[in-house]
């Protein structure tokens, strides 16, 4: 091994260490930012080292590609709204998977031209990287499109969906096996690629709405696995390590999201949630009950004379960009001596930690943000639980109603508070179409309207008290 190769290998090792330490530092908010920078430094080191790899002869394409990619990435990173973070992460997942697939494709054509150095493990890795990368690419585009509202967010279903998808998937596997045994055949490879792209679409369209956090996490895991597979193709340990770390991260987050909904991953990915629940919600609406509306002035009195107010944010807060108004209301209440805490359900929003980022953006100190386990026992001491655009995560039916699609899902004990104020646009049921009996609770008052407008009214009323 020449000195140059040793140095490059050492650079990759240091880069891998930077990734691991960077992730470790994400364990506390104080060091997280430094950790991210360390991770970025590791990436820079890996890129610089790669530029010295002996096989690289032409730098013009590299420079052009890096300038275009960096510029696009920087513009996206600085212009994206925090509420749009889920689709942004979804898009990036797709790009990572796409890049890995393209690397696999380039290697495929290299070996087609000259199969003399091809080994079995490389051909297997090429097919795996190609399949996983392509599925990640198209699946992420659909997921991002759904989150952005370009693609219909409701689950799209058709008869025998899972069976058709399975058969389709098997043809992809068959094409992969065929190519491993009879290497070459660009047309079969093209089928494998296109079919994997189509499968990514088929796989993602039946999943929607509140299940999006799971899909985003799962695609995150796939993008890591694709990178690791590309690492097997080009025999590079840095790719394998970094890819595995991302894969592990995505798998853990997927699992956490599933636990938080008390549903097995198979049910989320293959269950077409919204379609199933449409039937059962019909029985729930049969028992018509009445809700009690409240006007902003009365709600302001309840809030202003409380000792402890717990705010429960949900996706509705993100939709109406109400995070800053929430913080202003909390500030006004704090001025009057009210203690304000935030209760964050793991699946509130459209990706893990979505609510935390939005509230952090609005300058809410993070020690006011509580996880479900930390705060659930405190609801009974709360004078007001203020629900802003959250729905299923506070539905008491999850505790006992076995017919409810969300039965068994751990929920926030908002119904234990002395008063409950729900900010909601209208009485239309949420995404899953499940009636929320919390809205009919005798302690509950509904403040109808756009969350941001309602909050602005509340702020003014509290100021005038």
């Amino acid at each position: 091994m020449a000195l140059r190769e040793v140095l490059i290998a050492l650079a990759y090792m240091i880069a891998s260490a930077c990734f691991v330490i960077g992730l470790m530092w994400l364990q506390s908010p104080r060091r997280a930012r430094a950790g991210n920078m360390l991770s970025a430094l590791g990436m820079l080191l890996a890129i610089i080292a790669t530029l010295f790899v002996s096989g690289i002869k032409d730098y013009s394409v590299i420079i052009i590609g890096m300038i275009i990619g960096s510029a696009l990435g920087a513009v996206m990173a600085y212009t994206v709204k925090m509420t749009a973070m889920p689709q942004m992460v979804g898009l990036f997942n797709g790009f990572g998977g796409g890049a890995s697939a393209l690397v696999a494709a380039a290697e495929f054509f290299k070996y087609v031209a000259d199969p003399s150095t091809l080994t079995l493990d490389v051909s297997i890795s090429i097919m795996l990287a190609m399949i996983v990368g392509s599925v990640t690419l198209s699946g992420s585009m659909i997921a991002a499109g759904k989150l952005q509202g370009i693609v219909n967010e409701r689950p799209i279903t058709y008869p025998f969906q899972n069976i058709i998808n399975l058969i389709f998937f098997l043809t992809i596997v068959a094409a992969g096996v065929y190519l491993v045994v009879n290497f070459g055949h660009p047309w079969v490879f093209l089928y494998l690629t296109v079919a994997a792209l189509v499968f990514g679409v088929l796989f993602t369209i039946p999943i929607g709405g509140a299940d999006m956090p799971v899909v985003i996490c799962f695609l995150n895991a796939l993008s890591g696995v694709a990178a690791a597979m590309a690492g097997f193709v080009i025999k590079n340990n840095a790719l394998i390590i970094a890819g595995s770390l991302v894969g592990a991260s995505g798998i853990i987050l997927t699992q956490i999201m599933c636990w938080a909904m008390n549903r097995p991953i198979t049910n989320v990915l293959f269950g077409a949630f919204g379609a199933v629940t449409a039937a059962s919600s019909a029985t729930a609406t049969a028992t018509k009950k009445t809700v009690k509306p409240i006007q902003p002035d009365e709600a302001a009195i309840l809030l202003a004379y409380a000792q402890l107010v717990i705010i429960v944010p949900g996706y509705g807060m993100a939709v109406s960009q109400a995070q800053h108004a929430v913080r202003q209301l909390a500030d006004e209440l704090a001025k009057r001596g009210v203690t304000v805490k935030y209760a964050i359900h793991p699946v509130a929003g459209r990706m893990p930690g979505h609510m935390n980022v939005l509230l952090a953006e609005a300058n809410v100190p993070y020690d006011q943000l509580y996880d479900m386990d930390q705060i659930n026992d405190e609801f009974q001491n709360a004078d007001v639980a203020l629900i802003i655009g959250a729905n299923d995560v506070v539905n008491p039916a999850a505790r006992y109603d076995k017919s409810s699609p969300i039965y068994g899902m751990p929920i926030l004990n908002a119904d234990h508070a002395k008063h409950i104020i729900v900010l909601k646009r209208s009485m239309n049921p949420g995404f899953a179409g499940i009636e929320n009996e919390l809205f009919y609770n005798e302690k509950t008052r509904m403040l109808f309207g756009d969350a941001k407008e309602s909050l602005t009214k509340l702020i003014n009323e509290v100021k005038n008290l």
Binding site: F19, P29, N36, T50, G65, F92, G96, F109, P365, Y366
Partner: protein, 97 residues
């Protein structure tokens, strides 16, 4: 199956376990930055993209490599920058409890 492949599989499996051990301890508070940050790490595939784009082994490979570089760089630069943008917002006001 070569020795090199076995070594690579070792690394793959151990790195997975390392990832599980490290990431389970990341608090839910930081799960969004974790996702965007790990996303940026998966842009490591830039290494492969650079190699295939730069070795001049045919137009098709160079084009595939160029697109791969662009996608991976969006992932790397965008991922790290947006993570940094998010993390700098997380503040604990001193003395406020």
């Amino acid at each position: 199956m070569t020795e090199a492949l076995l070594a690579a599989l070792y690394i793959f499996v151990i790195a997975m376990f390392l990832g599980f051990a490290v990431i389970t301890k990341v608090p839910p508070l930081l799960h969004t930055p974790l996702m965007s940050g790990s996303n940026a790490i998966s842009g490591i595939t830039i290494i492969g993209a650079l190699i295939v784009a730069g070795r001049q082994e045919g137009t098709l490979q160079t084009i595939l490599g160029l697109i791969a570089i662009i996608l991976a760089m969006i992932n790397v630069v965008g991922g790290y920058l947006v993570t940094d943008r998010m993390l700098q917002m997380f503040k604990r006001k001193p003395g406020e409890k």
